[in-house]
Symmetry: C3
Subunit: 353 residues, 3 copies
């Protein structure tokens, strides 16, 4: 267990060269990663677009800060190295891309892969060992399918998508371009629908599919069920963490963030830019508006308006829930106060009668 | 991403032919699926056994309704096509089966499958690529095992069961007839038991097994642990959704519905016809009676009587929990009212003294 | 489904021989397993180090009890067979090990396994069918990798570790000695980190790794993400159940117990000997002290001191939460009492004016 892990690192000089920025401070400062200010660890580069964020960045463990020339003017003491650029967010993006070059997989099909009849595999694709590609499946260019993954019959996968080991796509599923599917996720298993007939439960046929748009990331062991009819849909740019359940006929919009172990029941409609924090659960047929946020472990039983933040069980507006939690924490004491009041009032009533 | 998904559809005429029913309305009405009234989407066929359900079905987005000749008499305005049959529920079942014929897999064993010594594979079975079948495993007739699945030594699998890609059955597990195991589920991993010895945790041997009865469906990435001794048991006709955890020595009865992400701790006893909604959790050794229901995210720490509906954390009868939630929502206001009362009572006491 | 499951069993005589103990009672008593007193089932052997535990053991369904010669003196009626030994806990451990001998896998590499360039596999290792071992991966002696598992490039696996079917280790992950990784777990997928840039979410590179120490057990379908930089770490002897999520940069100490479906967000620090019960969730960057316990479904949003027991949402000290739950259950009645008080006080005030 003593083998040290090799950690990539760069100098501030190298980072400044990527962004064509001007260094203030020690150009030999080592940089080992990039992060948002809230998530920064020692060695990280962060960016700050305003004096307020620069102040926060200076307080964080970050090693250096990308900012614009006018920002530091309003901040008193600058004790970390800076890189000055016209557009810090754009420069940060350039650094992100330079520091994390897409992994390279050689164009090749492993001899142990099993390819179905009439499947098509685009130029530059990499198919790993023990992969199964179904009949009439269509893979775009530079698609990567790693060992043990199963691509069902008639699936369609867009250019530059990467599918990690042991992922399963059931037949007929569509995945967009530049998607990233982590190990063990399952896309297109049957939705969960049964009708009681006497003492038994009869399966409702699940004849729809799953359509995943471009630039979607799906976490390890996450399960997205096929629709009863039509399609379960994941919008472009949405990012889904590990062990999430997405039921049949759910529609999720663009650029949503769905954190680990969230459960989304059937036919839920989720807008764009929605954030569902870890272990939240959404009841079937609920609608969640654009930009809404659900706190961790929230249990959502009714529609959530756009932009709202809900929390708790049953989920309600977060500010209200905070008041309820604070009140509940005082409740045992207040029950004593109520009993004391009752005694006093009885005493008052007794004296009067 | 613009490729349209092929959706199966039928005409009302074709459906009526299956049920030998009589059409009222447009016999060319397209039908794309079947559903319960509560879950109906446009294009669906639903069934209604009484005037009350027919009224609900007429309000739903369903395209057409299976009902009995005497039912519409009591309903005012019938604006959807009907199929009249003597027994709507039985006819609905016939439609279910006709519309979702069991998928067909050719009788074949893929040359990349690895078969253990003395394993038996019944007539008409389909063994996919990269499957491993353990030594002395016994598969019935027409069993389907899809790519990458692992069937451990001495497992027993009944006739007509379908095992999706990358499922893992540990050695010695028994699965009944006509079961459906979705991709990535894991049956028979060790139960979770340890005994502290000094600073360390020593593993308690898990020498039992898992026995899954006939007609059980198990969702993707669901995990059912083997018993410490004896067997973890899933009763006939029970349906389990995705990402569910079933601990060691749990016994689940017949025709239960266990929704996604439910967690059932060790040695729980669940009766027949029980419904556990999404993300509910059941403490170890708890008993849940026949026909009981646990609401989504419920945390069950004690026994639940037959037929009861429990919700919340800690779970209690649902009606009581609803009153508690309503009361808690008013609590911040009531705390203010208590403080106001205290002032008034102090004032009254001051005046009297 | 009627095939009986073979259950191993021993006689009390055989158990006594393992422990070199003295039998009181029927030496032919059959023993089918071992357990803690709380978890004991019929046929189990348990151990009792004091009169209090012996009394509990006598009330349990256990078949026989390991205890020390001086313990039964203080207990009135002994109606179960005993084995008397000097150190019951140590003897119990000997029985555990004798009853559950490590499974044996022959030293062999299956011809369908795919081995990467320059990978090293130690003496006595067993590599199953359809396994992929990455380039430059290093496996110790007697390592077992079962069918369909994927070991990424440059992974390091210690002696005597067992990896069950369809496990995925991403490149560069380190696993210690004597670990047990259950089927379908995923170690080293990308941490979940994105930065909004305009309408889109840009991926924060996840360049770190996962380091799992010796004697760790990891449940089926559990996901442990790689760090952004540095390493996500699981301490020695920690046991993790099924379907658990461990986010990037989490550090878990030694001998912790993490029960099924727990979710641990990024950068959480967990001490030694911590117990997280089922479905608990821990917010990112929280610190949990040595020996702390979090109850099932607890939602932890702030640091937890060493040795504390927290429960509920938001999690607080368990004793306080129990008072809150008891108070909340009475709340609907108390709201009525408040309204009654208000009427009486109004009446009193009216009389006075």
């Amino acid at each position: 267990m003593s083998r040290p892990h090799k950690q990539p690192h760069w100098t501030l000089q190298e980072i400044a060269a990527i962004t064509r920025g001007q260094i203030h401070g020690d150009s030999a400062t080592p940089i080992t990663g990039v992060a948002s200010i809230a998530e920064a660890a020692p060695g990280d580069l962060v960016f700050a677009e305003s004096a307020r964020y620069l102040t926060e960045a200076l307080r964080s463990p970050a090693a250096a800060i990308l900012t614009a020339p006018e920002v530091p003017v309003a901040v008193e003491e600058i004790h970390k190295p800076l890189i000055l650029v016209d557009n810090p967010r754009l420069a940060f993006l350039q650094v992100l891309e330079a520091l994390a070059p897409p992994p390279r997989y050689p164009a090749s099909i492993h001899p142990t892969a099993v390819l179905g009849d009439h499947c098509q595999i685009g130029a530059g694709s990499h198919i790993g060992p023990h992969v199964t590609i179904g009949a009439r499946a269509t893979l775009g260019d530079r698609v990567v399918v790693l060992s043990g993954a199963h691509i069902g019959d008639e699936c369609v996968i867009g250019d530059d998508t990467i599918i990690h080991p042991n992922v399963v796509l059931y037949p007929g599923v569509t995945v967009g371009k530049r998607c990233l599917l982590h190990a063990g996720c399952v896309i297109g298993a049957d939705g969960f629908g049964f009708i009681p007939v006497g003492e038994t439960l009869r399966k409702v046929p699940q004849q729809g599919t799953v359509i995943i748009d471009d630039d979607v990331e799906i976490g390890a062991s996450t399960c997205i069920d096929r629709a009863k009819t039509g399609a379960t849909r994941i919008g472009p740019g949405t990012k889904i963490d590990n062990l999430v359940h997405v039921g049949h006929n759910v529609h999720i919009g663009a650029s949503c963030i769905i954190i680990a172990q969230v459960g989304i029941a059937g036919s839920v409609e989720i807008g764009n830019g929605v954030i569902l924090a870890g272990q939240a659960g959404i009841k079937d047929h609920v609608k969640i508006g654009d930009g809404a946020r659900i706190a961790a472990q929230g249990g959502v039983f009714g529609d959530v308006p756009p932009g709202a933040t809900y929390s708790g069980y049953p989920a309600r507006p977060h500010a209200q829930k905070l008041r309820e939690h604070a009140a509940t924490a005082q409740l045992p004491e207040y029950l004593r106060r109520i009993r004391a009041l009752e005694q006093k009032v009885e005493e008052l009533l007794r004296r009067q009668s």
